[in-house]
Symmetry: C2
Subunit: 502 residues, 2 copies
């Protein structure tokens, strides 16, 4: 016992010293300020999960997707849905509601079909990948060669695929890795003379669903039709090939690419009372692929964003800075929406305090994922948790108390700013996200009313508190990136506010 | 302490007395006999899960479904697959391989399509239910009325559905209950003048898949098209109706029913060495619906059955009685296969010692489910487990040691015999069975090679031991049903052998 009590103070001293060195101590003033928001956050949570807004986000989203269905970039359906949402936001008293023009791609899926002719005749489920060229009107008929990877293609089949249809039956690792087959597969197959590429759908679970998504072409390489097939069919082709059976497929894919057309980012605000020029931005994208109705990707993210403004406005909660919702257009096929926005608002980015996007599902919210600049040697989340001086987490009532520093991106659109603006995304229990992603099964049935309420409550609370704090999130650029100097203050603040979080 | 030790002997005495009264004690002779099978069961398990048959059931099934695809009753595909399997069984040395003719239904799906016209134009995923009549060539166009139940239809919409399309968007309880909407829904809708019935797919989980299955008509009630829709679309129709929006659908369903045609039950045996006329029967059905490839329903059940004969034959394991595999035809649309078999073998049923079917999935095997006659006041499995004298369970090596007395049926086909022959089915971890059931997603990807090996090992072991025991399973008919007399002996035996459990 004696030796233990002797050692304890030494240990504590070490911890304190380390923290002090990295400026990890929160000032009592800041702690008190953050804690002072509990009342208003409780009000937001209660009104959204139990009170006047209970079920509202789901109901609005269901009405919206039931009315417009899929909303592919460049289509009438997307533009009509934007008009509808502009009117809807205005009707709720959201301020400065307007569309901001951007030029977006228009690629249209026509008739498409695929039939296996050998060794057995059967129809195959297919979806042309976004941006894919079509086949000739009469289709393409060719034997199939299955490869397991790009290396497998280059090393073992480079002389075997000319005039053939290449099937990429890769091992799924995770979306960010495996999506490379969708983007690069058709290019690499074409380099060896293939006439089409069939890409195993990018998902960790399949019930015979085909997943579309954007593909790519490369200057100087023949553009060949790039088509998603099911995991099941990819495995079936593999088995045929391993048995030495010839697989022959007839593919007819009609697509058309048009010149860019006008679309709009959809914008609304709760204008700040003291520094209206300073902005906390919440966002999701309003466009979707042309299959399913884009309820999950990204109806949920878009709707918790604009509905957060409705919640704040209706409750009379006006922060010092402006909370702005931007519903991006044309995320799915190249992010023309955010690229146009970035160009148009270049001079104002210095006043963007915090930018959030939810585009990885609105399943049970767990907290916030964030990128806090380039410096990586920050205190871990665990260190912050273990600080007993911080115990009242603002979002504990909805159990969304996790803060995770992202190792990658935070929402496709806002990744454009990850090195220059603090960015965050909704951390949620999205393990099944890729089951539904870019498929016919992306419908309202993926979402849950109570869960969406919690996501809206989190989104509105975080946006409000960050927009209302006495000080801006500090930003300091150096040749090493941003946030090299007061990054700990920033992270701790975010951990308290955003996650509020355990 | 004193009082506790005083009470214990009294308690034990009560237990012993109760067991004795119900003849629950196993004779040492029987226990020794059962234990003597461990060596041969170990041999079966080892050869199937690690040795010469490792992966074989999956490989054979994959080759089969890849070759023939779907196998609907009455089709060329099913008959070709039967020919193939007869040859295959012969090539493995299975004995008495033959087909037994039965007359089966022939119903054919033609073109089918459905489009929602109002409030938004979009294509709907549909599958005509088996046996459904078609629409006129030009289709049917009508408004939709959504009901939540048969009661809802009769009580609230009886005057509202004439000339309309009725959508049954019932609450899913479990398959055995909810399937009634598929069978009865179209009849009840027609009684009130509906022109078609759209039935929410019978499943506990949906990824926008349509589930087909057999429907019914009633003499004297107009036959209207009966069509499965997705859970997602049923919920969407519900939302439209709750908002007061008119839903209008154009339905074009082409189907054709033909006179019965000849098909075959597929039979093979390992002939018993002492009482070849006595039979332990293992089975599954070879036909499937016309969507997917029937790998799960019921390729798995059929293939563990015939492949069990290959395992026994190849290992030179010949039981005293015959082990017979019967792969039923035409289970899906009325069970014509087993009905014909029952009629043709009426006089031999007295020699059917035990009849098994696997038709509820071949996921991880857990043991055996069984029906032991009509008497219900048997000792529970737990009582048997707790008997310390029984500790060596034969199938412990594959952890398939559960015996469950079924409260309902045990495989669709063999339910025909549940009151006259001891019947059993594969108890397996089939919680996701109805996710895939009767859909395009019923493919090889549902199954797993190692899991199928274990199921084959269990199936072969149970069949062999029951077919080889000194005594037949006792059967004694009285006016109260069968097994009213020596039922405990039977149950204990089954619990030891079948599940061999714990």
């Amino acid at each position: 016992m004696f030796r233990i009590t002797l050692f304890l103070p030494v240990l504590l001293l070490t911890v304190t010293f380390t923290k002090s060195e990295d400026e990890c101590n929160l000032s009592q003033e800041l702690i008190d300020e953050i804690r002072s928001y509990q009342t208003v956050v409780d009000k937001i949570i209660d009104a959204t999960t139990n009170g006047q807004f209970k079920g509202a986000t789901f109901k609005e989203l269901a009405t919206f997707v039931d009315k417009f269905g899929a909303r592919l970039s460049g289509t009438r359906s997307l533009e009509d849905s934007i008009d509808y949402l502009l009117d809807l936001m205005k009707s709720y008293g959201v301020q400065n509601v307007h569309g901001e023009d951007v030029q977006v791609p228009l690629w249209v899926r026509g008739n498409e079909s695929a039939k296996m002719l050998l060794p057995r005749e059967t129809n195959l489920a297919v979806l042309a990948l976004g941006g894919s060229v079509g086949t000739p009107d009469e289709g393409i008929e060719a034997d199939v060669v299955v490869v397991r990877s790009l290396e497998d293609l280059h090393q073992n089949y480079s002389n075997a695929v000319a005039g053939k249809i290449v099937v990429f039956n890769y091992e799924y690792i995770r979306y960010g890795v495996s999506v490379s087959y969708r983007r690069q597969g058709p290019i690499e197959a074409a380099k060896h003379g293939a006439v089409a590429a069939l890409i195993r759908s990018v998902t960790d679970f399949s019930m015979n669903l085909v997943h579309t998504g954007q593909t790519s072409y490369e200057e100087g390489v023949t553009k060949i039709p790039a088509v998603a097939i099911t995991v099941e069919d990819a495995n079936m082709f593999q088995r045929y090939q391993e048995r030495g059976q010839t697989v022959r497929v007839k593919l007819n894919i009609q697509t058309e690419s048009f010149p860019e057309v006008k679309s709009r980012n959809t914008v609304g605000e709760v204008v700040g009372s003291e520094n209206p020029e300073k902005v906390v931005l919440v966002s999701g994208h309003l466009d979707s692929w042309d299959v399913g109705v884009g309820a999950m990707d990204d109806g949920g993210g878009a709707f918790i964003s604009w509905y957060s403004l409705v919640v704040l406005k209706s409750l009379g909660i006006v922060p010092k800075r402006t909370v702005r919702a931007v519903l991006w257009t044309a995320e799915e096929n190249g992010m023309a929406g955010v690229i146009g926005y970035d160009a148009a608002h270049k001079d104002e980015l210095k006043d963007f305090i915090f930018v959030m996007e939810s585009d990885e599902g609105t399943f049970t919210p767990l907290g916030l994922e964030f990128i806090a600049g380039k410096k990586r040697d920050l205190h871990s989340h665990r260190d912050i948790e273990d600080d007993d001086s911080i115990s009242n987490w603002l979002l504990a009532p909805i159990n969304a108390t996790q803060a995770v520093r992202s190792s990658g991106g935070v929402g496709s659109d806002i990744t454009i700013w990850k090195d220059v603006i603090p960015t965050g995304s909704l951390l949620n229990d999205n393990g099944k996200y890729f089951w539904y992603h870019h498929t016919k099964a992306d419908t309202m049935d993926v979402l849950d009313p109570d869960t969406l309420d919690k996501a809206t409550a989190l989104w509105a609370s975080v946006a409000y508190v960050v927009a209302d704090l006495k000080d801006d999130f500090p930003r300091d650029f150096s040749d090493k990136g941003f946030y090299t100097i007061p990054n700990v203050f920033y992270v701790v603040l975010l951990s308290l506010v955003g996650l509020l979080l355990h």
